[in-house]
């Protein structure tokens, strides 16, 4: 029997400001008369979602901003009601949706522990038992009788997390709370979470933008996109898919930006694209695969000894690598008309991510730049083998190395 069962869940919100009393009355009258209302279509925060979670599973929920993650958690915690569909939850849910929701600034730390504990569903006796542990975990012994309004924000969050995580429930719902406090405390929170998950075998739902965290803690992950589950698989696979989705988004954003082009007018860039070896245009390149770059320019004034420079930069303009046309090409003369230049990039060394292309045309004698443009086109590099969260994917390109067999050295 699944501990959480969600079937065809949808949640709609009405867009725009709430209508005034007059509008509401007018609308009700119109409805009675049978007129059609001019209401904007509802916004679907969640759109027909179904999944089930077994006892002891640790499930991450990832997705872009506004994908419906928090809405989903709110439904599961019973804070909000579905528009359609149903949710069955067996057992007690402890929502750590936002720690410290019930803190009262005028109360002392001690009072807030009792208040917040009661809100989280702990009995007074339970709080009495756990009080020392909570204070100890939050590292605020000396300030426990000071009003919380005089705490630093870090201290408040520490205390809040300490209370929230002491709730003993079968199901934990965690929304981005691990990013609290200083690094040492984050580590502590993380350890406590890991302990709850691994040792106490609780069912946990974790929403986070920290994909590494999701991959490390979760056995399974759901990827939400515009209110739908577009992937429900092992955490690693889902995280990879999320990275790819992100790359596309970054690429799209980069495409929305204008390319920076400066030219003397002697040449015009007609076309620039990437293809595979048979000539199909590519938007995404396989990591370590070959690809061809095709450049078409219209030459308005004959060019003598042109130098073509092709470069790759990240979408935030870190220039990564550059290739200049070799000597043979430079010896040529480009007559007026359309010229196509092609070259092959072998074993693309760029690591998975989103990239942009820059291009420059110079002539020798006297050396002069006649065309320069960056952010001209965008592409992504994808890989089905590399784990995006693994350290193998840090950085921008593969460093070609030759390794000797490790030798045992006697000392």
């Amino acid at each position: 029997m699944s501990i959480i069962e969600v079937g065809h869940l949808s949640k709609e919100y009405r867009l725009g400001a709430m209508q005034g009393l007059k509008q509401t009355l007018l609308n009700s009258v119109a409805k009675l008369v049978g007129n059609k209302l001019k209401e904007p279509p509802p916004f679907k925060a969640l759109n027909d979602i179904s999944f089930s979670i077994e006892q002891g599973e640790v499930v991450g929920i990832i997705g872009h901003n506004g994908a419906g993650k928090s809405t989903l958690l709110k439904m599961l915690a019973g804070i909000s009601t579905p528009t359609r569909g149903n949710i069955t939850v067996q057992g007690r849910i402890a929502p750590l949706i936002e720690v410290g929701a019930g803190f009262v600034p005028d109360f002392t730390g001690r009072e807030n522990v009792y208040l917040n504990g009661a809100i989280m569903g702990l009995s007074r006796k339970e709080i009495d038992q756990k009080f020392d542990e909570i204070v100890d975990f939050a590292e605020i012994e000396e300030f426990i009788d000071t009003p919380v309004k005089r705490y630093s924000s870090g201290m408040q969050v520490k205390l809040a997390f300490a209370v929230a995580s002491s709730v003993e429930a079968e199901i934990l719902i965690v929304d981005e709370v691990l990013a609290v406090g200083d690094l040492a405390f984050q580590r502590k929170c993380f350890d406590r979470m890991e302990d709850m998950i691994k040792r106490q075998a609780r069912t946990v739902l974790l929403v986070s933008h920290n994909i590494r965290q999701v991959e490390r803690l979760c056995s399974r992950a759901l990827l939400l996109d515009h209110g739908r589950i577009i992937m429900d698989a092992r955490a690693q696979e889902t995280c990879n898919a999320y990275y790819e989705q992100n790359d596309l988004k970054i690429k799209h954003q980069a495409m929305m930006r204008h390319s920076n082009v400066s030219t003397t007018g002697e040449v015009e860039l007609l076309d620039l694209f990437l293809t595979d070896f048979v000539g199909n245009k590519l938007n995404a390149i396989q990591y370590c695969a070959d690809f061809t770059v095709v450049i078409r320019v219209r030459v308005n004034k004959p060019l003598v000894k042109p130098i073509i420079v092709f470069g790759v930069h990240t979408t935030d303009f870190v220039y990564i690598t550059t290739a200049a046309s070799p000597h043979e090409v430079r010896l040529l003369e480009f007559p007026c008309g359309v010229v196509e230049v092609k070259f092959v990039v072998e074993r693309c060394p760029l690591l998975p991510g989103a990239y942009s292309v820059r291009l420059s045309l110079d002539v020798e004698d006297p050396i002069k730049n006649i065309f320069y443009g960056d952010n001209l086109i965008n592409f992504t590099v994808v890989s089905s083998e590399l784990q995006r969260t693994s350290s193998q994917c840090e950085g921008f390109f593969l460093l070609e190395t030759k390794w000797n067999t490790p030798q045992y050295i006697l000392d």
């Binding site: 804070i79 909000s80 009601t81 936002e98 929701a101 019930g102 009661a118 809100i119 569903g121």
Partner: protein, 272 residues
């Protein structure tokens, strides 16, 4: 019905804690502390006593100050419980949006909070009774029941008002004004027997008099205040006849009010 009671029992600790929060918060950093709870009825009592010295209100066998204080303490309890109940849901937006527990906890907690203040006012009335040499009879055992009835009356307003207030904040603003008007339609400044005299004995409104008196009694506080004065000060049992119309009204409206609240509750987090 049973489910509601069980729910309330399950969440009793939370209600205590929230009520304690309300009280502690209200009087924190105030030098006089909880003594502020008695200021409102006491001030009104002084004003009414002053006014009475010009207009002359027959208070029967009971000294006017203590009679009007008895009315005031019950009235202020009702008024504040109702109006704080109405604003309680909106006032806890942070909790509503983050954590689930039955939302009726909020109006109930407001009432519970006011109960503590009512308790303090009991000390004052006892002091006044000692001062005027009034000894209550065995009828005082009716007090808990009367207070329970007052709570039900306050909740009738609080539930439906709190739910509507989430959508239209007008309710939270309008209610205190409206309730202070209702005070004049309740036997607070004057005792109930004056109304009864004019309408029932003297038939002041002609053939409408008896009906008008029943309409007056539809206000649950009319019968309540009179009976409270009876058992505390006059040594008489509660006047059930005077309480009946109001009681029937509360009994009809309270379930509707509660059901409306429960129906609206599902959307609080979305709308608030």
């Amino acid at each position: 019905m049973l489910r509601i009671a069980k729910n309330l029992y399950d969440y009793r600790e939370l209600m205590y804690t929230l009520a304690w929060k309300n009280i502690a918060l209200r009087y924190k950093q105030a030098y006089l502390g909880i003594a502020w709870a008695i200021v409102k009825p006491l001030m009104l009592m002084l004003i009414f006593t002053l006014v009475r010295s010009f207009v002359g209100i027959d208070s029967g066998s009971v000294p006017y100050p203590v009679l009007t204080f008895a009315a005031l303490m019950l009235w202020v309890f009702f008024q504040e419980a109702a109006s704080e109940g109405v604003t309680s849901v909106v006032g806890n937006t942070a909790l509503i949006r983050k954590i689930y527990f039955p939302r009726e906890i909020f109006p109930l907690t407001s009432v519970l909070t006011k109960l503590v203040e009512l308790g303090i006012n009991f000390l004052i009335i006892m002091a006044l009774m000692v001062w005027y040499g009034i000894l209550p009879g065995p009828e005082v055992f009716w007090v808990p029941l009367l207070i329970a009835y007052t709570i039900l009356a306050a909740l009738t307003i609080a539930f439906v008002g709190a739910a509507i207030n989430v959508y239209y904040r007008d309710v939270g603003n309008a209610l205190p004004v409206l309730l202070s008007l209702v005070m004049y339609a309740s036997p607070v400044i004057y005792p109930l027997h004056l109304v009864k005299d004019r309408l029932v004995t003297h038939q002041a409104a002609g053939e409408w008099s008896n009906l008008l008196y029943q309409v007056y009694l539809l206000n649950p506080l009319a019968g309540l205040i009179d009976s409270f004065q009876n058992i505390m000060l006059r040594g008489l049992p509660p006047d059930f006849q005077a309480m009946l119309p109001g009681f029937v009204l509360v009994l009809c409206l309270l379930p509707l009010s509660y059901l409306y609240f429960k129906r609206a509750e599902a959307y609080f987090a979305d709308v608030i």
